[in-house]
Amino acid sequence: MESFKPYTARYAVLPVENIDTDQIIPARFLKTTSKVGLGEILFSDWRYNDDGTPNPTFVVNKPEYQGVEVLVAGNNFGCGSSREHAPWALQGFGFKAVLSTYFADIFRNNSLKNGLLPIIISEETYQKLVSADAEAAGEVEIAVDLATQTVTLPDGEKVHFPIEPFAKYCVLNGVDQLGFLVSADDDLTTYESAHAARVNTAGLV
C-alpha cells in the first residue's frame, strides 16, 4: 500500500442512499481470483446498458466527470455484502476517497485496509457538495488531507472528519495491518498456550 499524500481532486455525486456493495460490483463478477480489472465493472448495472454500451446518463460516463477521483454518495454507503471487491473496484476506477454521511461497517473497514478513504461528512457538508456540483458539474474541486483530517470544500471551508488513530497511521504511512498482527506474535503464543483450541477441523472431510 502506498503512503498517503494530500491531494486536490474533482468529484462526482451519486445522490442515492443505501448504495449496497451489490450495486458497487454485482455478484456475477465475483468469480475472479484476482483484484485486477474490477474498475471496469464498477457500478456495472447502472453504468452500462443491457447491450454493454455505456449508459450516457450515469454520472461517471458524462464527459464532464472524466478523471474524477472522489465520489460523494448518499447516506449509508457500502451496506450489504462484505465483498472487498467493492473498494478494489472503486480504487480500480480511480477513486481515492468516498464521502458520505454514513458508511456500513465492513465496507469502511475494507476500504481503510486498501487505503481508500471513507470520509464521513455532515448532512450540511453533503448538501453543500451536492449544490456546488449542481452549479458546475464536474468542475469543482475539494482537497483532502489525512494528517489534519480535513476536507477543503469548493468554497474554501475546511471540515474535519473522524478516523481511528490506527487506521489513520496505517493509511498515512502505507503500513498494512498484517505486519502489525505478525509483530504481535509473542502475545499470541502466550494466549494460545493458555487457551486450548476450541475446535479441531482436521480430518473432517
Binding site: 468469480k31 481470483t33 450489504g80 472487498e84 475494507n110 485496509k113 486498501n114 494466549y191 475446535v199 473432517l204
Partner: protein, 474 residues
Amino acid sequence: MTTAPQTLFEKIWNRHIVRPETSETPAVLYVDLHLVHEVTSPQAFTELRERGLKVRRPSQTVATMDHSTPTTPRGRDGIIPVPDVQAQAQLTQLETNCRDFGIPLFALGTENQGIVHVIGPEQGLTQPGMTIVCGDSHTSTHGAFGALAFGIGTSEVGHVLATQCLLQSRPKTMEVRINGTLRPGVGAKDIILAIIAQIGIGGGTGYVFEYTGSAIRGLSMEERMTVCNMSIEGGARAGLIAPDQVTFEYIKGRPRAPQGAAWDAAIADWQTLVTDHGAVYDATIELDADVLAPMITYGTNPGMGIPITGTIPTRNDMTDEQSKAGLEKALKYMDLSEGQSLIGKAVDVVFIGSCTNSRITDLRQAASLMVGRTVNPKVRVMVVPGSAQVKKQAEAEGLDKIFVAAGAEWREAGCSMCIAMNGDQLKPGQYAVSTSNRNFEGRQGKGGRTFLASPLTAAATAISGVISDPRDIR
C-alpha cells in the same frame, strides 16, 4: 472479588483478547474458528504466498464450496458438472489453496458440502462462547449459539489465515428484546424482517445485537439462526442469543461436539454465557411478537418491509428527502406504487433456500403447506437445501417427494438464487418471492425483483401463484 455485571458480548470479547485495545491501536482478538469459501478467499491466499506466510492454524479452519456452485442434478457419474469456466477456475483455486495450506475442504459433491453458515453448526463446529469469522457478512448466523461471529473482508481473511487473529475496535451492544409469543403462521423470518423495518438497514451499524425475550426463547436453533443471520441487514455485524437447553440439545452428538467429560465441562461453562443481571447495554429496542404478522419486503433493501396485510408506504410517510427519493427509486425498479397492497400480486419465481432459510425446519414448513397441493403452473418454484446433509435428511423424511409432486424443483445444495452467481437467476423484470436475505437491485439476477419473506409465505405464494398470506391457505 466481585466483578461488575457483564453482557454476553463482553464475556466472549474479554475471553479472546490477545492484546488489549489502547488509545492508539485496536484490540488483537483471537479467532477460534475460521470458515472459508471460494469467492472471498483467493486473493488472501495469494497474499500469503507473496509474503511466504503459512496458515497458522489449519485445524481451526474449514473451507466449503457454495457460492458459485451449480445446484443442478448430478450426472450419471455422480458428479455435479460446472459448466461455467470462471466458476470452475475459482473452485479449482480453492482446492489448490486448501491442499497447499492443509485446510480441510468440503468440496462440491461431497457428503458434507453446503452453505458455509449451514455446515458450521451442522458439524458441531459452531459452539457457545467462540469467536467465529468468515469472509462473508452472514457469519452473524452463528451468533444463534452464543458465539461472537461476524463477517470480514478478504484482507482480514488473510490476517486470520496467517495469525488466527484480527484487529478489532470494540463494538457497542444493543439489546433487541422480543416479548410475547408468535402467532401461528408467523415465524423467525417475520421477527427479523420486522426488526429491520423498524430500525432501518443502518440502524445497527457499530453494534452487536443480543436478541432476548420470551419469543426468542421459544425458537428452535434453526429459527434462531434465521434471526441472527439477518443481523447484518440491520447494520449489525453480529447478533447473539444466549445459549440454553435448546442450544445444548442441538449440539449434542454432532461430529465435532465435545464428548464425555469434555461435554459436561462444556455445558458447565456454556451455562455462564448469559448477560448478567444488572449489566448495561448501550441501547435497547423492543418488539411485541403477539401483534406480528407475516412480513414481506416491497423495495430494494431489506429494511423496506411491511406486514403482508399492510400497504406500501407513501412519500408522505417519509420524513426526509433522501428517504423519499429512496422510496421512489425502489418503487420504480420494482414497478410498484405507493400505497399498494402486495397480496394478490403475481410472481414468476419462488425461491426457497439460502443461509437464512434452507435448513430442515424451513423445508418442513414449506412442505407442510405444499403437501397434497400443486404449485401454480405459471410459477417456477425452486427448493434448494442448505447442505448435502439437509438434502439427505429431507429425502429421508420424504420432503423431496412432496416438493416434486407439487411441481417444484428439488436441487443440490448451495447458495443458488440467493446471489445468482451459479446460473440460478431471475430474468430481467421477473418477480420472485424469496426466503433469502437481500432484495437489492439485481441481487437475484440483473433486472430481477425480489420480495423477501418466510418459507411459509413463499410456499403459500407458490401454491396460489400470487403473493399470499400463509394464514389464508387452508
